[in-house]
């Protein structure tokens, strides 16, 4: 065991060389809000929600290696406000009509927004028009909720070895695309048992024939905040570690 340590919001956190701030914090049971991070896959740092201050400088906790004896600010007003603004921008950029979404109640975007105290999206909504892909017998893809976190891309590539998904285009034109001749999921070799099917932090991947299976009040994030419950892909992940 290494004796390397750093401090998050006054709490001493041990780490092994090579661990990121996020890895070490999760192992120590300290919650840092995140969407595109999943410990099973390489971090990309693209959602920016795990923004923290390392010795006074902004870094993304999921990509920044921990540094011995450093000071990390996580739960401070300034960062909380910035996380809230990031979330508000994610909400207005897509079509996040929670009352009409099957993922509602076990959606990480929603849960993180509850956690930071977001009451409204504040900005002007884009209301983009995005077509559904219902071509696959087991899964509907609702691109209206896609936040371009790239987790399905990474899972399909590294766990499933299928490379079914990619982010195409740049800037405002970025979108999730399917690697099949028609561009439809039904014409790819996707299976509902793929790792890529269960990593989505929002409501893009919706299994067919299930609908609103769990009653309101019993869903993943209905009773306790995400800091206690853990991620959609790893419920109780943080608690199990310690």
């Amino acid at each position: 065991m290494s004796n390397s340590r750093f401090v998050i919001d006054g709490k001493d956190i041990p780490f092994r060389p090579g661990q990121t701030i996020m890895d070490a914090a999760m192992a120590a049971g300290v919650y840092i809000p995140h969407l595109c991070h999943n410990p099973d896959y390489a971090s990309t740092g693209n959602c920016r929600l795990c923004l923290v201050k390392l010795n006074g400088r902004y870094v993304s906790a999921c990509t920044q290696p921990a540094i011995a004896d450093s000071q990390v600010d996580n739960q401070i007003d300034e960062i909380n406000q910035q996380r809230k603004t990031l979330l508000q921008m994610l909400f207005v950029e897509g079509n996040h009509q929670c009352p009409g979404c099957e993922k509602s109640g076990r959606c990480q975007l929603q849960a993180v927004a509850y956690y930071v105290g977001m009451l409204s999206p504040y900005f002007t909504h884009f209301y983009p028009r995005r077509e559904l892909d219902a071509s696959h017998p087991e899964m509907v893809l609702d691109f209206n909720r896609c936040i371009l976190c790239g987790l399905c891309v990474r899972a399909s590539h590294s766990a499933d070895k299928k490379n079914i998904f990619a982010i195409s285009g740049r800037g405002m034109d970025s979108r999730l695309v399917i690697n099949s001749t028609s561009g439809k999921l039904g014409d790819s070799n996707f299976s509902a048992h793929d790792a890529a099917a269960s990593v989505c932090p929002v409501g893009v991947f919706l299994p067919k024939h299930k609908g609103y299976e769990v009653p309101i009040g019993q869903r993943l994030y209905d009773r306790e905040p995400i800091a206690q419950v853990g991620d959609v892909a790893h419920p109780n992940h943080q608690r199990d570690k310690k």
Binding site: Q97, C98, S120, R130, P225
Partner: protein, 179 residues
Amino acid sequence: MSHKIRVATTSLAGCFGCHMSLLDIDERLLELITLVEFERSPINDIKQLEPVDVGIIEGGVANTDNVEVLREFRRQSKILVAIGACAINGGIPAMRNHFELKECLEESYLDGIGVVNPMIPNDPEIPLLLNKVHPIHEVVKVDYVLPGCPPSGDTIWTFLTELLEGRPIHFPYSEIHYD
């Protein structure tokens, strides 16, 4: 008991679910009416809006009448509250924003399944639909928001009681949800 807080409520492009939720505070309504006086509201069917302390708006802005009512509420209310998903982000009615208004009207009144006597209504008394459905904060300044579809009776109760007592409003985790 010299001065009660005056409250008005209305539903724009909403389903009245938020008003039903207000009634869901159940027997606490008796306590509430010792504290507040209801002015214009679907609950008492008063149509004229007088100046009030708190105006509560359910629903988004989908037609010209919604715009007029919303602006009148803003003028007459010291504090304006957006209640429910539709007032906050357009909600389910805003799902028509992905389509042209013409497409929506044609689907509903001309080409839809089971339509008899197809024609698009054009009576002058029917408010004109806006091209898109808007959250109310895109039209007027909003002072407080209460998310939920609808917000629970408990959420509404927490909000009203803490507002009336002049405290910063703090909701328990279970009282804030977007659905």
